[in-house]
């Protein structure tokens, strides 16, 4: 497998506060006259990238994720030779096409047709290539009737579609895409993702920066997490995305503190003191995704020995619908005695069948199978945020409009109905 991209100890520094240094020639001349050998004041610097190293083989589709300002776009720019490294080496094998902004090179006064040629030329396509693909490009963008109108009359959506249409018909060895899919309606996003899927199956190398985790997971074979100018993690999309998502939620406490909750009923001889979520890897988390496996740990404190308690929870939607009511009693687990003091018990969830939404917990501890909680009952004391995930491996983002729960499933469509599906996709 040949190597398409090799980045070695790449660092990129930006100089801030440009006003400190002379930006006007007359100022520079004056300062030269006054003190010919005095250097310009040391500028504030920002290291957008520090010591970044990684390699990409031909044919890999790499997703790059990270917070805003982490250095992702700078990395793409260096790979596209738009800006140059301050130190380190970058080598890219083959023709690179970058889509850092849609509609690069569009000129307002020229018509759609003329801009297709211009845009194509700027992105590196030869005139004949553009001509050969013109019809395909126009169909993809859906602007056939506006082809001879100046671009300045186009809506933003049309420009976006046109820009992406041209880029989608490039034939580069390496394609670098920066968050251009963030704009555009759902139908268009689907088209873009399909186009990129087509590139992947065509054996191209793709670098794809996005905040759309479902798309990254669906398209990419590998994922890089860039944080504060460095490669924080490099691995399979699912792992990296999960780790990344968890850092977001860490602004809040990972453990819900239940000790000070006031409106609770029950005798209090044993009561919940805390609740936390733990990932399958053993790390405390605050956010889970549809389909995840994780553990809920319930911390309690008992004043005196408690005989045959049962611990349970109720899960509610934001609207107040009861999703599920479960407990140790439901599982016919008998706990003979709980000694006084602090302790915990775990509930392991094998597969979270909940769709993305916010859910609330009510917790209770009672005696055996008693209907009314005897010892402790706290309502709506903790929340669970379930995040988007590629649940049906379709790349579609499904949220709470699709219901509360889902289940592993497959559609079986009889062959005759599927004939002609490929052609229909083309015509779209």
């Amino acid at each position: 497998m040949s190597e398409a991209i090799a980045v070695e100890k790449l660092s990129k520094r930006f100089i801030l506060g440009a006003l400190q240094r002379d930006t006007m020639l007359r100022e520079r001349l004056i300062s030269l006259l006054r003190a010919p050998f005095r250097p310009q004041p040391a500028p504030n610097v920002l290291w957008a990238l520090s010591d970044v190293s990684f390699r990409v083989d031909a044919g890999e589709v790499v997703g790059i994720i990270g917070r805003n300002g982490a250095g992702k776009s700078t990395l793409l720019k260096v790979l596209s030779k738009i800006t140059y490294p301050t130190s380190g080496k970058v080598h890219v094998d083959g023709r690179v096409a970058s889509l850092l902004e849609v509609g690069t090179g569009f000129h307002e006064e020229l018509t759609g047709r003329e801009n297709i040629y211009l845009n194509g030329s700027i992105l590196g396509m030869k005139h004949e290539d553009v001509a050969a693909k013109l019809d395909s490009i126009v169909n993809f963008a859906g602007v056939a009737q506006f082809l001879d109108t100046p671009i300045k009359r186009y809506s933003t959506g049309m420009r976006l579609r046109l820009g992406f249409a041209v880029a989608a018909h490039l034939d580069p060895d390496v394609l670098v895409v920066d968050e251009v899919l963030a704009v555009g309606d759902a139908g268009f996003q689907r088209k873009c993702l399909n186009a990129m899927e087509g590139l992947r199956t065509g054996g191209r190398t793709v670098l794809f920066v996005s905040h759309n985790m479902a798309a990254v997971e669906n398209l990419c074979t590998r994922c890089l997490w860039i944080d504060s100018g460095q490669v924080r993690m490099d691995g399979s999309p699912r792992e990296v995305i999960e780790a990344y998502m968890n850092t977001f939620a860490n602004a809040r406490e990972t453990m819900a503190d239940l000790r000070s909750v006031k409106n609770r009923r029950g005798s209090g001889e044993i009561r919940y003191t805390g609740m936390e979520y733990i990932s399958s890897a053993g790390e405390p988390i605050n956010v889970v995704r549809s389909g995840d496996a994780f553990t809920i740990r319930f911390h309690y404190h008992a004043e005196k020995p408690i005989v045959f308690p049962s611990f349970g929870l109720r899960l509610y939607t934001e609207m107040g619908a009861l999703v599920t009511d479960t407990s140790t009693w439901h599982h016919a687990i008998e706990i003979p005695v709980v000694p006084p003091g602090d302790g915990y018990l775990d509930l392991q969830v094998d597969f979270l069948n909940l769709l993305p939404a916010r859910y609330y917990f009510s917790l209770w501890i009672t005696e055996g199978g008693a209907a009314t909680p005897v010892y402790d009952n706290v309502e709506h004391c903790a929340q669970l945020d379930v995040e988007l995930s590629n649940i049906y491996s379709s790349g579609r983002l499904l949220d709470s409009r699709s219901g509360i729960v889902y289940f592993p499933q497959r559609w079986q469509i009889p062959e005759p109905l599927l004939v002609g599906a490929a052609d229909k996709e083309e015509a779209k």
Partner: protein
């Protein structure tokens, strides 16, 4: 200066034509007067010069009717000065492109230089008409005229590269430019013939490459005048030196464009 630069330039030549064509198209598309702007500017200037310099001040013009004398120099000069202005700003005004796409940046000033040739051609047509009107019969030296045109194009390109790169770093260059061009107009023998100057001043004239090229152009068209080969030769050499300097400076600062534009 390695060969890679030239190879890339050649590879992107289609884009060069496109950018030049884009400039031309936009200039001529919606402007009602369109092509005539290329002619009106030198024409009007010529009229004013004729009235004031030729008429009132009685500046001699080597035996050629003053309007023709000045127009002959004004057509290439208009090209040169317009190019300097546009190309000098070409990088900054295309900041959007430079920060988003890779292509050899030198294509931008080069495209301006190329698109200006269309204006030059239009002006040239009028010049030919004028020559016919004044019954000027050009000699074999007419064949030399394209050489001088090439020289002026190269000079314009060299200056453009240098100024465009400089303008990215120091933004006030584009304001100083019109002033510089004005001065350059007066130190070049456009309004007056070179014979108008004292021998001492004529010696200083060698430092102005435009002087030799313009004089040469004029002499080649209006065959009544003797060609000043020495001056033309020096100007050509200076032009080549400036080409190298301009290109080197551009190449040196090219890497920082996307960061500071």
């Amino acid at each position: 200066m390695n060969s890679e630069w030239f190879v890339e330039f050649w590879r992107y030549r289609e884009l060069l034509y496109f950018l030049a064509w884009r400039d031309v198209k936009v200039r001529y598309k919606q402007a009602a007067l369109g092509a005539s702007w290329a002619v009106i500017q030198p024409l009007l200037t010529m009229v004013i010069f004729t009235l004031f310099f030729g008429g009132l001040a009685r500046v001699p013009s080597d035996g050629i009717p003053y309007p023709l004398f000045s127009f002959c120099a004004l057509v290439p000069w208009t090209y040169f000065s317009t190019i300097l202005g546009h190309a000098g700003n070409s990088l900054v005004s295309n900041a959007q492109l430079i920060t988003k796409v890779y292509f050899p940046r030198v294509l931008l000033p080069a495209a301006t230089v190329l698109s200006g040739l269309v204006d030059f051609l239009v002006g040239g047509v009028f010049l030919a008409l004028m020559m016919i009107y004044y019954h000027v019969r050009p000699g074999w030296s007419l064949l030399l005229a394209p050489l001088f045109v090439v020289g002026m194009v190269v000079l314009a390109f060299s200056a453009s590269m240098f100024l465009a790169a400089l303008n990215v770093r120091y933004r006030d260059v584009k304001y100083a430019l019109p002033f510089l061009v004005q001065i350059w107009l007066f130190v070049t023998p456009i309004i007056y013939p070179i014979t108008f100057l004292t021998p001492k001043m004529r010696r200083l004239m060698v430092f102005n490459p435009m002087a030799g090229l313009l004089e040469g152009f004029r002499s080649s068209l209006l065959a009544t005048r003797r060609m000043d080969w020495r001056l033309a030769g020096i100007s050509a050499a200076l032009t080549l030196i400036l080409l190298v300097i301009g290109a080197l400076y551009f190449r040196k600062t090219e890497k920082t464009f996307a960061d500071i534009v």
